[in-house]
Symmetry: C2
Subunit: 450 residues, 2 copies
Amino acid sequence: MDKSKKIIIAGSGLVGSLLGLRLLQRGFDVSLFESRADMRKENISAGRSINLALSHRGIRALKLAGVDEEILSNAIQMSGRMIHTLDGQLALQPYSTRPGEFINSISRRTLNIILMDAIEKIKPDAIHFKSKLIRVENDCQRFVIETEQKEIKSMENAILIGTDGAASVARKTLFELTPHLRFNYSQTFQNYGYKELTIPPGKDNTFVIEKNALHIWPRGNFMMIALPNPDATYTATLFLPYHGELSFDRLDTKKSIMEFYQTYFSDAVPLMPDLESEFFEHPTGHLYTVKCSPWHYEDKILLMGDAAHAIIPFYGQGMNCGFEDVFVFDELLNQHMSWNNLFESFSKLRKPNADAIADLAEDNFIEMRDKVADPVFQKKRQLEMNLEKKFPEYYSKYALVTFRPDISYYDAMVKGRKQDEFLMNLCADLNKEWGEKELDEIFNSMISQI
Amino acid sequence: MDKSKKIIIAGSGLVGSLLGLRLLQRGFDVSLFESRADMRKENISAGRSINLALSHRGIRALKLAGVDEEILSNAIQMSGRMIHTLDGQLALQPYSTRPGEFINSISRRTLNIILMDAIEKIKPDAIHFKSKLIRVENDCQRFVIETEQKEIKSMENAILIGTDGAASVARKTLFELTPHLRFNYSQTFQNYGYKELTIPPGKDNTFVIEKNALHIWPRGNFMMIALPNPDATYTATLFLPYHGELSFDRLDTKKSIMEFYQTYFSDAVPLMPDLESEFFEHPTGHLYTVKCSPWHYEDKILLMGDAAHAIIPFYGQGMNCGFEDVFVFDELLNQHMSWNNLFESFSKLRKPNADAIADLAEDNFIEMRDKVADPVFQKKRQLEMNLEKKFPEYYSKYALVTFRPDISYYDAMVKGRKQDEFLMNLCADLNKEWGEKELDEIFNSMISQI
């Protein structure tokens, strides 16, 4: 692989940092430009969400860079979903009956710091903070950076990899090559926003609800979730429509917020002493999907992570998908092709998978909101859990996506959807019950058909 | 309706000019800003395509502004499609058996000039050429214009209507309000480009092929069309993939162009003496669809025409749809609502119809390219033509879209697709033949079901 070109990485968030680390480990000349301040020195928000669910696809990529163990030692295992019903009942739905199949709550900040520290161990001045790509010139052969000191710096004989997130500036440069590049682009907003809130620790810094679970308060048209943090807090996130009867629009007074919470999340209210103030102080986040193609321009610019494929968070796969980008990119580097061929191969391999996880995440949001109350759907979930218990070789769509990095997102989607359709058809008759023998038959017939 | 606000129209192309004319007729304070020079004074291209097919929806809107007769007197009737087969055979497929149902070939330039002349009869200084919107300020309450003299002019207490085409600057201002506005946006490119070429007049300025037809050379994966002009020329347009075996990529020498034309359009070659030189001199145009929402921001900015919904040209409806925007906008003006409500109602009414014609145009491109050789499809076209002949009250999908402005694009799409499905099912059996009596039965069963 040609190492004469400098590699400019725009954005040292999660994907940019892991990519930078891996490329430095492989001996490339890497510089990262990050528009924010160094979060290790200044107290700034680490970005969109406070904590994230790290799972097998992400872990596989971290392992490649040798940082998986340190990162997992800072994470909290979540073995299943803890459902909080309207009347305060709890029900744990394990993610898997197989060992090792759990997801991990990790702080975005901790994860990013571990990655940046690892980069600076190899190249202390690799990351330039408060510095950003401002434009590209000369048919993308010159990249213009503004430094912390507001100096304008040009870099040539370089390639730019844009890992600067959903609002990517690198992507904007591709967009502006329209129509010459014929850049296909879509951004699609949900009619839902989200609000992050805190559940603080109990006495003596104890976890006030189950520690090793992802908590969900499903309420049909809206929901709250909460993920544990190592300091015994939880970050709760409310997903709610902007407009309508139950919406952010209507939650505009302390009274309306408390009434809403008392009605729909009564078991959470005593756990959230700062609810009223946080609700007003914290911003309402937007949920949107970005798809584009091509992801690259010749051998000059490539997009990765959210810059190429921002998705909504309902499969817990945004970060994992971005880390998997790095894993796939690294594999392609072993094949010694030209940068142009590498960028093309990368896009060709990853685009269908990025589209698949985007679509799965949208499906799952609808599923969580609208289907959770459907009796056929509930019966299907029950049947599926029975199948998973009895046949360890059976992977549900969720398990394929989450625990099987050896199967692509696209293949997981196709197989998972077929399985779902097969089981939903069986469950259309709500009175049917299946004994052990019938479960065998269902399983055998499913694997023979799918 | 509140007339205290100035109306700024960005772009005096076809839709902007018709809108400006109509609003001036209604007594509004209208100014148009056009980034190009005045085409009546300088010899500039009038834009994307040289001539266009004007049909009933467009004519209805022109009638409203009283310019339909003058415009139609400059148009050439096209009563049907003249199919040119590979071996040079000709077959005329009439658009309709009903009187008055033809489409009209009109020069974009002539049409635009008639509209601009009509504007200046009411307000001589209404159109500012070589002037353009460069940005909006102060939460879209100030519109900043750069004039021909490079002066910067601000306008307040105004509303901006963006009719500045597929690459709209007005739309960009909405885009940049993301994520605050949650602007949904997509641009989708075809893998096909187009090239405009000329068929000059014959001896004594005569039309060298049938005058009153839209000529089509369908070739499966690509095609050429030609529309007549009043000066006895035809504007031919070649639609061809960019890449692949038969593609613009491969037509890079005079020899390859001539060989390609001799093989696929042999009857056209003698009619196109400038083929070789024009092919290199004329640019290759791109084909893309733009969808977005919302089309407006509060009571400040509204998009119309291609700026809101650029479509590919395969239904001949891009201009007609834009003119229909003006017709609908005018109807809403009669309802005396606030600008904000008007913009909202306009978007609500028009967006499903703009999406429908965009989808219909994409369907039709696939139909023209890939289905034309399908025997079931051919049988269905034959059956449909028999039905149209026998039952004047039967409107095919094409006829609903083209000749029935009383039916929305959306309703035409839904009804047309149902009819198509119904007829395709009947034609699955290729050996079936239908006599007069069976045609009656088919027709009755279709109208009872759809």
